[in-house]
């Protein structure tokens, strides 16, 4: 049953990755990266259970944290760039 969840999460990660590649605007990419991070958290948690060593949840915690921080960082630096560049090649 953990295997089912792992497979599903991997599929979703792939989808988010494709969106990050295609992503017509920068914001699509940010969103895809965010979603990818969430899925990584889930993946780590589930894999920890799959391998029978659920002590590894600390890592999942760090991932959630890093995910949040990096989204904020991207937004912060992005808002500084001049307005004519904000919407890229539509």
């Amino acid at each position: 049953m953990f295997l089912t969840a792992t497979a599903a999460i991997l599929v979703v990660m792939l989808m988010a990755l494709i969106r990050a590649f295609l992503g017509p605007t920068l914001y699509d990419r940010i969103l895809a990266v965010n979603m990818f991070g969430t899925n990584t958290v889930l993946l780590i948690a589930v894999v920890g259970f799959l391998m029978g060593r659920p002590e590894f949840l600390d890592i999942a915690m760090v991932y959630a944290l890093v995910n949040f921080i990096s989204v904020i960082a991207i937004l912060r630096y992005f808002e500084y760039s001049p307005p004519d560049e904000t919407v890229e090649h539509k």
Partner: protein, 117 residues
């Protein structure tokens, strides 16, 4: 089985060569640094795949478990990652200084300016 068992190394090599390719073919200095860090990451993956023992788990001792993966490469890579980021920061700082004195971070433009001077 033998061929499949080496698959991991091949991925490492492909990644490594990608990083290498970025470093030598791209003119943008930031991209070069990113290429370097991809190269670095491929080396990390190489070490970690070597450390794996089939059927083993992470090297945190517990009475109920008997096989562990090799902890030594983990230690080496752990420190290497942190040192890697420190050196990356140093490289980026150099890039910033180059940008300030040349006004560009493209390699060929920098070279052109050097030849003028």
């Amino acid at each position: 089985m033998n061929v499949l068992g080496l698959y991991n190394y091949w991925v490492v090599m492909v990644l490594m060569m990608l990083g290498f390719y970025i470093v030598i073919s791209q003119g943008n200095l930031i991209k070069k640094i990113i290429g370097l860090s991809i190269f670095q990451a491929s080396v990390f993956i190489l070490y970690i795949s070597m450390a794996k023992v089939a059927g083993g788990t992470a090297p945190i001792l517990d009475e109920s478990i008997s096989t562990y993966s090799n902890p030594l490469p983990h230690v080496l890579i752990l420190t290497a990652i942190v040192v890697g980021v420190a050196t990356t920061a140093l490289g980026l700082a150099l890039v910033v200084r180059i940008r300030e004195s040349y006004g560009t971070i493209e390699e060929d433009e920098i070279q052109a300016q050097d030849e003028e001077a």
